[in-house]
C-alpha cells in the first residue's frame, strides 16, 4: 500500500485552480497504488485553505503554518520533512511556475526520480506517465521503476475535485532551518496594463512567430482594423518587443474569452493555449497541418499566412 502526498498552491490569499486538480490527480494515483491521499497546504491562511480543500477523496490535510507566501526554501524543507514522516509512494506537485521553483529541488533532495508536466498516468504495477515533447507534436510515455517518485502535473489536465469531504485536518510542525533560507520575496507587481484590455475584446486577431519580421505585423494589424477586431499575440512577439506585454495571450499573459479568436502563425504551445482555449470560436491559419493549434481549433486554413491574410483583409475593404 502506498500513499500519495499532493502539494497545493495558493497566491495572495487565494488557492489556485490547480490545487483542486491535484486532488483529482492525487486521488487517481492513490487509488491505483492502493493508499491514502494526503494534501499539504503550506503558508498563508492554512486553516482557511484547508476548509476549501476538504473535498471528496481527500483523506488527510496537513496544514503547515510557515510564512505568508510561497518561499521555495521553506517549501523544500517542509515537503522533505513531511515526506520523511509519511513515506508516501508519490509526491505530486503542480507544474506551475512555483512548482518549477521547488519540485526539482525536492526530488533531488529526496533522491526521487522526477517526471514533470504529466498529462496522464496509470499505475498498474509499474507507473506509466504520459508527457508531451517537441512543443506538443509528440507524446511519450515513460515508465518509472521505483517505489517512490516525484511527479508534477500540467495545470488544466485533470478536472477540479468537487463535493465536500471529511478529511482529517492536522497541523504539521515543521522545523525550519532559517540559515538555509537564502531567498526573500519582497513583493508582487502586475504587469501589462496600458492602452487596450484584450480580455474585453469580442474578436481577437492574434499573431505568432509565423509572421517572421516586425514589419510584417502591419499585415495583421490591417486585418484587425478591417474586421474591427483587437490585435493580440503569442509570447515571442512580445519577447521581441514587436508588441507590448498587454497584448500577450497565455499562461504568463492574459486569459481571454472572445467570441472569435483567429490564431495566425501560432503553433498552439500549451502555455499559449492556457490563455485562449475558452474562446467561443477558434480559427487557425497555419502552414503546418500538425500544429497543435488545430487540436483545439473549430475552423482552420492550412496555408501560408502571407497569402491568406491579405486576401482576407481585401474581403472586408
Amino acid at each position: 500500500m502506498s500513499d500519495v502526498l499532493a502539494i497545493t498552491e495558493h497566491r495572495r490569499g487565494e488557492l489556485r485552480d490547480v490545487s483542486y486538480e491535484l486532488i483529482t490527480a492525487g486521488r487517481q494515483l492513490a487509488d491505483d497504488l492502493g493508499g491514502d491521499l494526503h494534501l499539504a497546504v503550506i503558508s498563508g491562511d492554512v486553516s482557511g485553505f484547508a476548509d476549501h480543500l476538504n473535498r471528496e477523496g481527500v483523506d488527510t490535510i496537513h496544514t503547515v503554518d510557515e510564512g505568508e507566501e510561497f518561499n521555495h526554501d521553506v517549501y523544500t524543507q517542509v515537503i522533505t520533512q513531511l515526506y520523511d514522516d509519511l513515506q508516501p509512494g508519490a509526491v505530486v506537485m503542480p507544474n506551475s511556475v512555483n512548482g518549477l521553483d521547488y519540485a526539482p529541488a525536492v526530488a533531488n533532495h529526496l533522491s526521487l526520480p522526477l517526471v514533470t508536466d504529466a498529462i496522464d498516468f496509470a499505475a498498474d504495477g509499474a507507473l506509466e506517465v504520459t508527457r508531451e515533447q517537441y512543443g506538443s507534436k509528440v507524446e511519450t510515455t515513460v515508465e518509472v521503476d521505483a517505489d517512490h517518485v516525484a511527479l508534477t502535473i500540467r495545470p488544466g489536465e485533470w478536472p477540479a475535485a468537487e463535493g465536500t469531504g471529511d478529511a482529517d485536518i492536522v497541523s504539521f510542525d515543521a522545523s525550519i532551518d532559517e540559515s538555509a533560507v537564502k531567498s526573500t520575496v519582497t513583493g508582487f507587481e502586475e504587469v501589462g496594463g496600458g492602452d487596450v484590455d484584450i480580455t474585453e475584446a469580442d474578436i481577437l486577431v492574434s499573431v505568432g512567430r509565423g509572421i517572421k519580421e516586425e514589419e510584417n505585423i502591419e499585415l495583421v494589424e490591417k486585418l484587425a482594423d478591417a474586421l474591427g477586431a483587437t490585435l493580440s499575440s503569442s509570447r515571442p512577439i512580445v519577447d521581441n518587443g514587436w508588441l507590448p506585454k498587454n497584448r500577450q495571450v497565455g499562461q504568463s499573459g492574459k486569459v481571454v474569452t472572445p467570441d472569435v479568436y483567429i490564431a495566425i502563425g501560432i503553433s498552439g504551445a500549451v502555455q499559449h493555449v492556457a490563455g485562449m482555449k475558452g474562446a467561443d470560436t477558434i480559427i487557425a491559419i497555419n502552414t503546418d497541418p500538425n500544429a497543435p493549434i488545430f487540436d483545439i481549433a473549430d475552423y482552420g486554413i492550412v496555408d501560408d499566412l502571407f497569402d491568406v491574410v491579405p486576401a482576407l483583409t481585401e474581403q472586408f475593404q
Partner: protein, 264 residues
C-alpha cells in the same frame, strides 16, 4: 567572477515527420540552440560587459555535432565551452534529470562558478527541471523563471523578478552563488557579429567524457525509461477549409460575416 551557462542543442521537428521506435527519424530534425538558453547566454554576456573580470563559460551535454551550436554561443561573447559526451551517453534513449544533474554537478566541481544560468526549459523534452535540481545538488541558492535580473556582486545578492502566471511578477532577492533559470524576454539576444564568429573559431571547446569528470557509465542508469513515442491522436474536429488562399479566405470571410464580424 565566473558565470557558467548551460547550453543545449535541441532538435526541432519539421512539419511532416515519422517516428522510428523511440525517436523521430533523423531526416525530420533540425538542430538549433535552445531558445531559453539563448537568453541565458545573452544575460551571461551582459553581466560580463557590466562587471570587471567576469568569465563566461558554457557547458553542453551533447555530441560533436553540437559544436556548431556551441560556436554560436561563443560568437555571441562566451569565453570558452565545455562539452560532455561519450559512448554511454550516445547509447542512451533518454537522459533523465538526475543524470543531467550529476554530470553538471561534476562540471561545477571543476569550474567553481559563482553564478549559473540555465534556460527555464529545453524546447525538445520540456522537463524544465535541470537548473533547480542542480542547485539542490551543489548547495547553491536558486530561482526559476527569472525575467529580470540585477546582480549586486559586492553584496552577493541577485535582485530578480520571477514571472508568475497571469501577468504577475514576484520580486525576489537571492543570495549568490545561485542557479537562475532564465525566461525568454529578459533581454534581447544579440546576433553573432562577423567578428564574433571569426573569434569564436579560436575559442576553446573542451570535450570531456564521463571518465574525465570522475564519473562512470552508471550515472546514466535511471529508474525512468522511455517506453513509447507516438503522434498524439488528433482530438481535432476542426473544419478545414480547402482551396487556394483566395478561396479559403473567401470561406472564412463568409463565416465571419455570418457572425456579424466586420459590419461596423
Amino acid at each position: 567572477m565566473k558565470v557558467l551557462v548551460t547550453v543545449k542543442e535541441v532538435a526541432e521537428v519539421e512539419d511532416e515527420f515519422e517516428i522510428d521506435g523511440l525517436k523521430i527519424d533523423e531526416r525530420y530534425l533540425d538542430y538549433d540552440l535552445n531558445e531559453w538558453d539563448d537568453y541565458a547566454v545573452e544575460e551571461g554576456v551582459q553581466i560580463a560587459e557590466e562587471n570587471d573580470d567576469v568569465e563566461v563559460v558554457t557547458v553542453t551535454i551533447g555530441p560533436e555535432r553540437a559544436e556548431e551550436t556551441i560556436r554560436m554561443a561563443l560568437a555571441k561573447g562566451a569565453d570558452r565551452a565545455v562539452r560532455v559526451w561519450d559512448d554511454a551517453l550516445e547509447a542512451a534513449d533518454f537522459v533523465d534529470v538526475a543524470t543531467k544533474t550529476d554530470i553538471l554537478a561534476a562540471v561545477v566541481e571543476e569550474e567553481q562558478p559563482d553564478l549559473i544560468l540555465t534556460g527555464v526549459q529545453a524546447s525538445d523534452d520540456a522537463f524544465g527541471a535541470t537548473g533547480v535540481s542542480l542547485a539542490d545538488a551543489i548547495d547553491f541558492e536558486w530561482a526559476a523563471v527569472v525575467n529580470a535580473l540585477d546582480l549586486d556582486v559586492e553584496a552577493g545578492v541577485a535582485n530578480l523578478r520571477r514571472e508568475l502566471e497571469g501577468g504577475i511578477e514576484e520580486l525576489t532577492d537571492v543570495d549568490i552563488p545561485a542557479v537562475l533559470t532564465i525566461q525568454t524576454g529578459i533581454n534581447e539576444p544579440r546576433y553573432a557579429s562577423l567578428r564574433g564568429i571569426r573569434q569564436a573559431q579560436s575559442k576553446e571547446i573542451a570535450p570531456k567524457s564521463l571518465g574525465d569528470l570522475g564519473l562512470d557509465a552508471s550515472v546514466i542508469d535511471s529508474e525512468i525509461t522511455l517506453t513509447s513515442m507516438y503522434e498524439p491522436e488528433s482530438e481535432s474536429d476542426a473544419t478545414i477549409w480547402e482551396g487556394s488562399a483566395d478561396e479559403t479566405a473567401g470561406k472564412l470571410a463568409e463565416f465571419l460575416r455570418d457572425k456579424g464580424v466586420g459590419q461596423a
